[in-house]
Symmetry: none
Subunit: 127 residues, 4 copies
């Protein structure tokens, strides 16, 4: 399901992370579905469990999955609409950065002005 390219200069864990994110976002792994265990996926890709663990941790931080110790990791919805983990994670990030930027001296007005600008830009910017 995930293809790795060892000749790619991108780290393996990023390839795994992006591959899984893609599966979640596109719905290939449906909301709430259990993801393969770290060890199972590691075995199936013939890489080290640490590398999978790192990809899972990144995706959890991004809100694309939740992992429950002892149970496994479960997909959250990545698409638009409804409240979901991804959106919660983004709001957490948004609030935290806004809070500290104001603390550092930026005004709420300056920040508000950036929002529309940011929204208009292309996402681009690879790893």
């Amino acid at each position: 399901m995930i293809s790795l390219n060892y000749r790619d200069s991108r780290p393996i864990y990023e390839q795994v992370r992006d591959g899984l994110r893609h599966l979640v976002v596109t719905g290939a792994i449906t909301e709430g579905e259990k993801l393969p265990s770290v060890r199972a996926l590691a075995a199936s890709l013939a890489i080290n469990p640490n590398t999978i663990q790192r990809a899972y941790a990144a995706l959890e931080e991004e809100g694309y999955l939740t992992s429950e110790p002892g149970r496994g990791a479960f997909a959250a919805r990545g698409g638009a609409g409804g409240n979901n983990l991804r959106q919660e994670a983004l709001l957490r990030q948004f609030d935290a950065s806004a809070r500290e930027l104001v603390f550092l001296g930026m005004t709420p007005e300056e920040l508000a002005a950036r929002i529309s600008l940011a929204a208009a830009e292309r996402k681009g910017e690879g790893a």
Copy 2:
């Protein structure tokens, strides 16, 4: 300079990260100053270099230091005023989250309204 508590539930790398962040923010490590090498700090704390590496990576992402391959890691200024990496990192984070939240359907007005609210709250530094 950094004290580790192995009985603490917080992972070692977080203890190192927070310890280093504190040194930078308080100015104990001054702007531009070279931090100890990954291996040196690992040796001095008697822990694995990987753990230090993880703390350094987190701090670089947060903008508290820059690490230049082959040269070392250097402290950035954490405080307010002037151009600093921390502010750049926060703006990057702010823009990215705003962009995706708008993509997910929130309006710029809703987001703008959150800014003042967020700024008023206590920081509540999580683990």
Copy 3:
């Protein structure tokens, strides 16, 4: 003239190599023109001369430039038409690989059959 992205996971020397190759192929650096010295380009990009040297060596192997110790590095023509260093390098590579493949047991007919196939494919395949 060449832009570096330190956050890119692609190594610096590949970015330099590809940037220079592009300048030669597009004719921005004309045939026979002297390229900046290893040290000068290193200084202008604020990176180590060794890194530039590595890019120059790769481009020489590919036939995009010749470098003469004590004199400098000079661009070859990258475009189509006429005989040029790039084509010479390719023919050298073609002959050498064909020779050894025949030595390893492939027949000239098998190889000839591959040519048209290869020519039809997309070049793709990033680093």
Copy 4:
């Protein structure tokens, strides 16, 4: 196992590269066998790890070994017969050069004609 001659005009890394290639081709290092680590071989030859690294990189490009970050470097079979990395590398090189030569205007027929010629020549391995 590898002898270095510092009075030889050939660079150390080429002497190492050719020495290793010889060991692989002659079967002194058998197919799939793990080569000494970069650091270990450097220590044993009393030279810098970078120099060994350079030789390993060249041999990997030639298909005589594969190196897997974090695991080590492993010998491929250099001889004829069966599937081996060397042949794969040669085919990759053959296809790539053929493709670009056609792109530059040579006809597949011209190239096909070169194959038998090339195969008849002596190998003339340069420094």
